[in-house]
Structures are given as C-alpha cells and as structure tokens.
Amino acid sequence: MLGALTILLVFQLIGEVIAQLLALPIPGPVIGMALLFAALALRGGPSPGLRDTAQNLLQHLSLLFVPAGVGVMLHFNRIGDEWLPLAVSLVGSTVLTIAVTALVLHFLTRREKAAGG
C-alpha cells in the first residue's frame, strides 16, 4: 500500500512539474493520470497492490469533496441574493449536459456498431 501510494504521489508530482514548466492550464493530477495511464499501457497493467490501493481510494472519492463543499458557508450572502438564477442555471445546465452528452454518445456508438456489422 505504501509503495502504491508513493507511485500515485510521484506521478502527481511529475504532473505538477510539467504543468508548471509548460505553463499549462491543466492541473498536475490530471496530467499525472494521463502519464500513469500511458505507463500502465506500456507495462501491461497495474500490480495487484496498486490496483487495491486505487480501489480503496476511489471507493470513498465522495469523502474527498466534503472539505471544499463546506466552503459554501462563505457564500451564503451572494447565494441568498441570487439564489433563483443560480439554482435554475445549475439544475438546467446539469440536466441538459447529461442528457445531451448521453444521447450523442448513445446514437454514435449504435451507428458505429451497425456499420461495423
């Protein structure tokens, strides 16, 4: 588990360094994810230890958003003033995005399957 956690941190660190060096707008962890994915593809898959650690960490991914979420208390005033436009925008846009993305992907994959055989 310690080895696996070290691997994750090393890839995050490499990602952060690349993001800073090249002044990329993408955060380091996302670059780290892409690099680890490439490394796994080259190596032919993760070790059992890495797979277990990733699974444990991702099982409780929700927990990791709680501290930032509590930051809502800093914005109660603005949210109170603008709650209607903010609420309609967030609900409308989220539902629309999920529906549009899912429909596009659904029809394109179905068409490809049909074309492929």
């Binding site: 996302v30 593809a41 990733a54 927990l63 709680v66 629309l96 993305t101």
Partner: protein, 244 residues
Amino acid sequence: MRTPAQLAEIWVYLSASPLLGLTVTLLAYQGAFWLYKRAGFHPLANPVLLAVAALVLLLKLTGTPYPTYFDGAQFVHFLLGPATVALAIPLYAQLPKLRTMAGPLLAALVVGSLTASVSAVAIGKLFGASEASLLSLAPKSVTTPIAMGIAERIGGLPSLTAVLVITTGILGAVSARFIYQALGIADHAVRGFAVGVASHGIGTARAFQVSEQAGAFSGLAMGLNALLTALLVPLLMPWLRDWL
C-alpha cells in the same frame, strides 16, 4: 467534575488544533454514508450533500470559522490529487472498450462540454444573475482546481466557482439515474461518461458506486472535460458576452 470554565478551555484548545476538523469530517462522512447505505444507495441520499449539510450546521452552531475547520480538513482535501491520478487504473481496465468508442467519445465530449458552459451562462443571464456570478458559472462542470483557475482567468470569483462546482457535482450525481431512465439509456459506459462530463469528480464518485465500468468512463470524461474546458472557456467568453 470539571467546571464550565475548564471545559471552555478544552474547547479553545481543541478548536485551534487540526485534529477536530479532520475528525468531524470523517465522522460526518461516515454518518452520511451509513444513511446512504440504509437508503439502498439511492441517488437522492447523496453522501457529499448530507455530510456538507451536517458540517455547515455544526460550524454555524459552534461559531467556528471555515478556515479553522479547513486547517484540519485539508488532510482529506489533499487526497484529491492522488485519487485523480488513481483514476488511470480503472480506466486502463476499460482499454479494449475505450478503443472501439474513441471517435464517439470525443464527439460527445465536445458537444457536452460546450453545452455545460454555454447553457449555464445563458440560463443564468436569462434569470438575471450578476456578471461576476455568470463568469463564475461558466466552468462549473469541471473539477474544482481547474474550475477555480478558469474563473480567475476570465474574471469570475474562484471561491464562488468552487461552491457552484460542488453543487453541480451533487446535482448530477442525484439526477443522472432519472435522466437515463427517461431517455432509455442502459450502457454503463455511456451513463458514466455523460455524468463525468457534466459533474466531474462527484459524478465519478457516484458512478463508481454504481459500477466499475461507469466509474472508469466517468473518470475519463472528467479528465478530458477539464482539459477541453480550460482551453475553450477563455476563448469562448468574449464571444459569449457579446452575444448575451
């Protein structure tokens, strides 16, 4: 028996140490997760929502400022980085399916990403949101650190964006199942990808609770959308402002 004055002293000591913020975060989350499990993992019993609500209530009741709480909670917050890197592992397991779907995934990503930012700003404008709020809304579908960076670049309020991002995540996690049922979409790769584009890590967390495949595609969508939005929204914003 301790006097109230002594108890107050203990409280002063504890409230200044990171131990309390960290412990209450874990306790609140485990309580929320227990309720979520009791509700049969129903999307409406979202554990992020329940835990945040309980903690905000607790901090308000005890008069604890957010930065004091965050001193402890930052240890949990820090793990977001390695967890994002770890998304590569379930994604790798989906490599064969990923290869066959590459073209459609990219097309859906571009359409979804544009829908997310343009519709948020347009609806907000229609209902009279202030300009600062509109600029903070544009990156609301991408993972918190990138969204905050984008908001800063285009003149929004990064800390407001963080709240909008988390709320969007919870909304997507709560509503996705009902949208898919209404549209008749069953493929877990499609379901995961769409919720990942719309509601980043919180959608991904929910997708992993549904299935490994949904989670992997959601994580992929989250990463790709972060990339695309960081490139598109700053380019799109001047045009969008003229148009509105």
